[in-house]
Chain length 428, copies 2
Amino acid sequence: MASPVNPPRGMRDFLPADKARREFVLGVIRRVYASHGFDEIETPVVEDSARLNSGLGGDNEKLGYAVLKRGLTLDDFRSAESALDLADLGLRFDLTVPLARFYASHRAELPSVFRSIQLAPVWRAERPQKGRYRQFVQCDIDIIGEPSALAEVELLVATSATLDALGLVGCSIRINDRRLLTSMLEALGFPADEHASALITIDKLDKVGVQGVTDELSDRGFSDTAVGELAAFLSGYGARTIDEKRATVDAITSALPAGVDAVVIGELAALADAVVASGIDRDLLEFDPFLVRGMGYYTGAIFEVAHPDFGYALGGGGRYDGMIGRFLGTDVPATGFSLGFERIVDLVELPETETQDAVVLLHDDVDFATLAALKTALIARGARVRLARRPRNAKSLLEQLAASGFTQFASVTAETRTVDDLELKPIR
Amino acid sequence: MASPVNPPRGMRDFLPADKARREFVLGVIRRVYASHGFDEIETPVVEDSARLNSGLGGDNEKLGYAVLKRGLTLDDFRSAESALDLADLGLRFDLTVPLARFYASHRAELPSVFRSIQLAPVWRAERPQKGRYRQFVQCDIDIIGEPSALAEVELLVATSATLDALGLVGCSIRINDRRLLTSMLEALGFPADEHASALITIDKLDKVGVQGVTDELSDRGFSDTAVGELAAFLSGYGARTIDEKRATVDAITSALPAGVDAVVIGELAALADAVVASGIDRDLLEFDPFLVRGMGYYTGAIFEVAHPDFGYALGGGGRYDGMIGRFLGTDVPATGFSLGFERIVDLVELPETETQDAVVLLHDDVDFATLAALKTALIARGARVRLARRPRNAKSLLEQLAASGFTQFASVTAETRTVDDLELKPIR
């Protein structure tokens, strides 16, 4: 069977160098988030189909991979009205729906304020394209049970520390609040039942510009007055540094006819002050009064990590108070922040220093007992050891192994008895 | 929707303490295998359905979870003759079939002898029971491209070092060779085309005893002479230490009418000598002339890790030369060893020493900026820090947090300004 042997469409294998890079980055993220008091958990990669399709996943539900029930018969196929009749499980498309299910299962065993870390793959059957994969890792932290903005502060500080630890310089975190957007739309005369729809258009600001947004809103029948006032805003207030935050907020407040929520602005300002008090570079934070974020479940503060070199976000999150409690039938305050691992992993520079000796033992036909004893002796001294039969072109092999982090080599011959007989030489 | 909120049947959530234990054990395994010159790789959790059902997975193929094609119509359901018509992907049921596919995809990019590590979950729709799960982690190392028993030596030494590093004392590794079994069955008069079937029965020796095996073989119509000679063997030679290996082999050789392969015995002896030369405790290795191992693809040496406290194997492996090259259409020598992570993780004792300070900051309504600054200052000193609103019963909260590894606490009040104002006290 010499058929094509690629991984499934849109999915990837990771060779040793890639896998090492991924584990290194995951290790840094895991360590920093743990330092900030978060606890790692894990859920199965599949969840019950009904739960995945309960409406909490937004558009991602349509991208789900469904898992067939076991033991189906021809009759089952004949009588099926939709895929959901044949599937009882699905691969998770995010880590938030599983977290809501996990929290409902284990609430009694968890602290009253639960800070979770999830570093795990998710699956979406999107059209594959550069940088977009059908299996990809998300790095989520969530704080469940904390109603105050202290949760947002902890999320932002922990995320900023993680970006620092990964050496990702030049990132900014844009901040806004869904309630502020709502107040603004209200004040500008957008009808309440059209807010969600207007926000979908405003969310495209980065891509289509002010003209694009106002054109689309006009086309969709919003009043000229409302659209015109919004256009004035959009032109006037781009992303601001945290130092300009209050001025911006004041400008919005005074410019709006009425109704912007002073409480929300106060919270946002306190949040920003606390983040700055924790020693984070002032330039990291930007107040962006037009940041929307895609998911419909956000109810308060929203964040997005941007990097000047990239036209896409490296992560984002916000407060989503209505959702975690859905499977419990009760309200539970919640905030979360998700880092786009697949984008970040390519940006991180691995540290050059190998902390461990890495030795290649080049050998011909030497008895196995000698090779095994030599290898064990070197490992006992702290080295990583690779046996390699001496090829015709040892230079080329050693170059390959240098690329895998091996730093020294020694030749084993029929005369070699103990590790003291080895002459270790640097590779290159 | 207050429906039941359990994870899918037979699958598990991991709460923080469990997850930490799992990551610790995985970290040890990863580190030791890497020291022994193995390279970690990763493949997608799903593979093409046709590949998973190509016959390499043995009985496990029947336990596969199938993933529905996307965009199926009613017509597709009506015309489907089997689940395979509706599914294009499946969750992997082992790490060996994906490794064969990976090797076929990437052979040109890999060293000529490739030593792989895979630490990853697999899925089998087995009837759930105690200690058996539908999603579970396997820890596989494989050496591809090495035809000599040097591969077996490296696998056994690396596995033994891993068991040591995990503190799993008292384990033994039983060794046999499929070719020896075949020679024995031949010599005893079992027809060649019935060997596989006879081995399935002999594999039950540990469970049903000598009488059970001979009864089953007789019932299945094997000749009384053959069954009788086998029974004599089974009664005479149980598992032996490595020191008794040669005597046992000699006994088998002299007792058999004819045909036992001297080359195989020589290889097995050399393998055992090399393992012992690498400093492994002699008692670890046992030659077991009746060890079979379940999978049909083994072609040479086979191993199994046993622990005296448990009636099941903690891992196993062997040489399977015919399989890895199947997707390439060429023969590639291969050996592998798989540790049963789910069984091992429960046996490992975590080290008691917390290397990191872990501090709880108990607070009332203190401004967020102060809390954020205090937390950051403690983290900068190397601590893991958890904020916790002071509850009525602080003692009970601190006890919970002590169980999560927190060792110190301090109270934050409205008067606290800097970290120097904190009075850190040990918990308990």
